[in-house]
Symmetry: C2
Subunit: 467 residues, 2 copies
């Protein structure tokens, strides 16, 4: 078994060449895009699994630690690129196995035959020229870039990357569909495990086992909890009481790095209470209406505001809010129950390109609105065909919100506080529904997670049922 290891690549070589040629034509100084390394878990020689930087992967970098792509500015259609890969020590094959040959690397990435070099030559290749960098947030890589004196990529350089990564091509979509398939299998396993185990950890184990069996890592730490009102909760410490709702927001990244991100919420017992069912169906209506609104040209912020109005309608029906739903949404009353944005970009990152800040999520000239709830919206671009986003409305009863006079008092006239307090006492927790979608020219968006049920009865029927 001394055969060369397979090189996992999402796209064929010519696609990487085209992506790099477009980038090379848009920049005016060399750009180094780093792969990064596996960061330490608790001591330096005990790393987390390696995950190459997303821009590095996008432009054809093979998954090698401490590698980098050097893109030269040029306008002749050539992709002007050198792959810097770490030189190998004599004992490395013993500890880490064979690594791909330079020939195999250049072929997979669509580089010229002389387009692979030892990473310690990067300084010489730059030859003292001004150069920019995209550096994943790993300590050794940050130190390497600093030592080379590389500037951070400026907004124009980042936008040249962002505008390519924003629109997913057929290879990327195929990878995202595969990630969604595995994600849905994980959710089905989680639904089945809910009936067997008594603890969140049992459900998390079932979900993660599906990912590992499919060669995947989680694209983010799975949220699998009966305390769905804690939006970024960690760990699975709780028992699952019979009347509780379990919120499962989790997804894999497939071996090429493309993420899936799906949320479902279900009753631990398989039976909805009337108020649970109503709040769930309200969330589901928001999901469906917001998804249907994702047409080319539509402003994503309007999709968020639409979801907010639907949530307000349901809260009025439940007598938690009083008044006209549109007016309530305009006063951002929903944020007391729905304090986050309707979704985000998704691709090689679960929150795609979030490391570039709002330069990725917000179109030129647009900035975040400052109000509680609104300020958490991660995306405000006009949708285009090929954009992949999540749609994930929710309803939560968060004690930490209802303890805040600054949030509650201005809306006291429209809130039915006794009813809110009763639900807080009931530990309704949180409900969220999330699909990953891709905007299409016509016929509405492609819902990558369409095969996973959302209908309240259909979901409840899966609880405790093995496939």
């Amino acid at each position: 078994m001394t055969n060369e290891p397979a090189i996992e690549m999402t796209a064929p070589p010519d696609v990487y060449q085209q992506r790099r040629a477009r980038l090379a034509a848009a920049i005016r100084r060399p750009l180094v895009i780093f792969a990064g390394h596996a960061p330490a878990r608790n001591y330096s020689t005990n790393p987390h699994p390696f995950r190459a930087g997303s821009s590095y992967l996008y432009f054809g970098g093979p998954p090698l630690e401490n590698a980098a792509l050097l893109i030269e500015p040029r306008s002749d259609g050539d992709n002007g690129c050198t792959l810097l890969r770490p030189p190998m020590g004599p004992d490395d094959p013993l500890w880490f196995g064979e690594v791909p040959s330079d020939e195999a690397l250049s072929e997979a990435a669509g580089l010229r035959r002389d387009g692979v070099a030892d990473s310690d030559r990067l300084g010489a290749l730059l030859a003292g020229r001004q150069a920019a960098s995209v550096v994943p947030p790993y300590p050794d890589t940050l130190a390497w870039a600093a030592q080379l004196g590389l500037a951070k990529a400026d907004d124009d350089e980042l936008l040249a990357i962002i505008h390519q990564r924003l629109i997913k091509d057929e290879h990327e979509l195929a990878a995202m569909r595969q990630a969604a398939e595995i994600c849905m299998e994980g959710h089905r396993a989680a639904l089945a495990a809910t009936g067997r185990g008594q603890r969140e950890a049992d459900v998390a184990a079932a979900f993660l086992a599906v990912l590992v069996a499919n060669g995947c890592e989680p694209s983010f730490n799975p949220i699998i909890t009966v305390r769905g009102e804690v939006l970024h909760g960690q760990g699975y410490p709780n028992l699952m009481p019979n009347g509780a709702l379990l919120l499962c927001d989790a997804g894999p990244e497939e071996p090429g790095g493309y993420a899936s991100d799906i949320t479902r919420t279900w009753p631990v017992s398989g039976k909805w209470t009337p108020i649970q069912r109503h709040l769930y169906n309200t969330t589901l209506r928001a999901l469906k209406e917001a998804t249907a609104a994702c047409a080319p040209g539509r402003r994503y912020r309007d999709v968020h505001d639409l979801s907010a109005r639907v949530i307000c309608e349901g809260l009025v029906e439940a007598e938690l809010l009083r008044g006209d739903p549109a007016e309530l949404a305009a006063r951002i009353a929903h944020a007391l129950f729905y304090p986050h944005g309707v979704g985000h970009l998704i691709g090689l990152d679960a929150h795609d390109m979030e490391d570039f800040g709002d330069l990725a999520g917000y179109a030129a000239g647009r900035t975040r609105r400052p109000e509680f709830g609104n300020k958490s919206l991660r995306l405000d671009r006009d949708l285009q065909p090929g954009m992949a986003v999540t749609i994930e409305p929710g309803i939560y009863l968060v004690p930490a919100i209802w303890a805040r006079d600054d949030l509650v008092k201005p809306l006291a006239d429209v809130v039915n506080r006794p009813k809110v307090d009763a639900l807080l006492k009931d530990h309704i927790g949180g409900i969220r529904l999330e699909d990953t979608i891709c905007v299409r020219d016509t016929g509405g968006p492609e819902v990558l997670s369409e095969a996973l049920p959302t209908d309240a009865d259909a979901v409840a029927a899966c609880v405790g049922v093995s496939r």
Copy 2:
């Protein structure tokens, strides 16, 4: 469910007080021991699970990101300690849930009531004094320590930590026994899954599901592979051919952070070939004899050399080496098949305190021997009661070794190369057996993983058998 979250602590408060008092008496300047933070997976807001630094945990730091313990030098038996915890933003409880109160923190950690402070006060508390630091290798923590101008702890300061952490007390041993129990359950699940699945990933999924269901993270990336000869292989990409051996070197850390590390090797088919069985039984004899040798006062390097001699005996019996086993071991001929050390310290790190380099693993005045094989021994101290170590001999057929003239030629006179080449062609791969043990005063060491079979027939009988 607005109750305060539980604080996971391994020892009672007075034990942490005693550990800190001993440390306070041994240092001459303030020492800051940082908790660290969860490093980024691919973008800054998408972290890996948080794992607090091991020394921080050992001295009673509650598991809080971006916290630190400030230990003041003093000789009055007081533990002179302040816990610096990050101040909370108004929206934090919404996103991250409740955090423990300062009262709960000081109680759990055995601090004075005024012993908890905002982390942004650390600079003021140091008041310009010279101070030392122990910093886990996470980028934000490194930057924080650098910004405060803290020196790295010197060898004397590190040794004051090392000498405490070297000897495990009853609380630590209880945690390590719990980790071993979960680890053994994982191995049993892996053995069972080997018969059901066709891919390494199926076995890895079964192992990891047991960890997650028990609230554990892996203490290192599990090695679960039919290519056991790649010592630090990653991922689970291979099919498991019927005649192959599966090597499973994997362990959890329990919620307090204490690691388990156990290796078993078994035939995928449940049936050993004669040569597999012989090499396995040789490895097993090395495991047993090396384990039995772990008595107080015994030099760990001698335990390694003993294991090397036993391996040489078995290789001579198999006609892979020729000559007297003791002489072969003296020429380090075993390293062609057994190129690593017999084990390492274990505790809060799977390789305990490896971030301190050989200051932890090697006694004063001792250094690594330079030869291939010998140079990979991570530990050379005289064993003492309470020291926890692994014993993990192995036999591998590594193509990358047999391609190296510098390693093979000097031993050509004692190697049966045709037989080696035949086994290389047969893809024997690698065999390793590893137990976690704790040295005791009398009666031989405690083998924490004793309940997991090592007998060749007993192991094979578990393949494909659900519990």
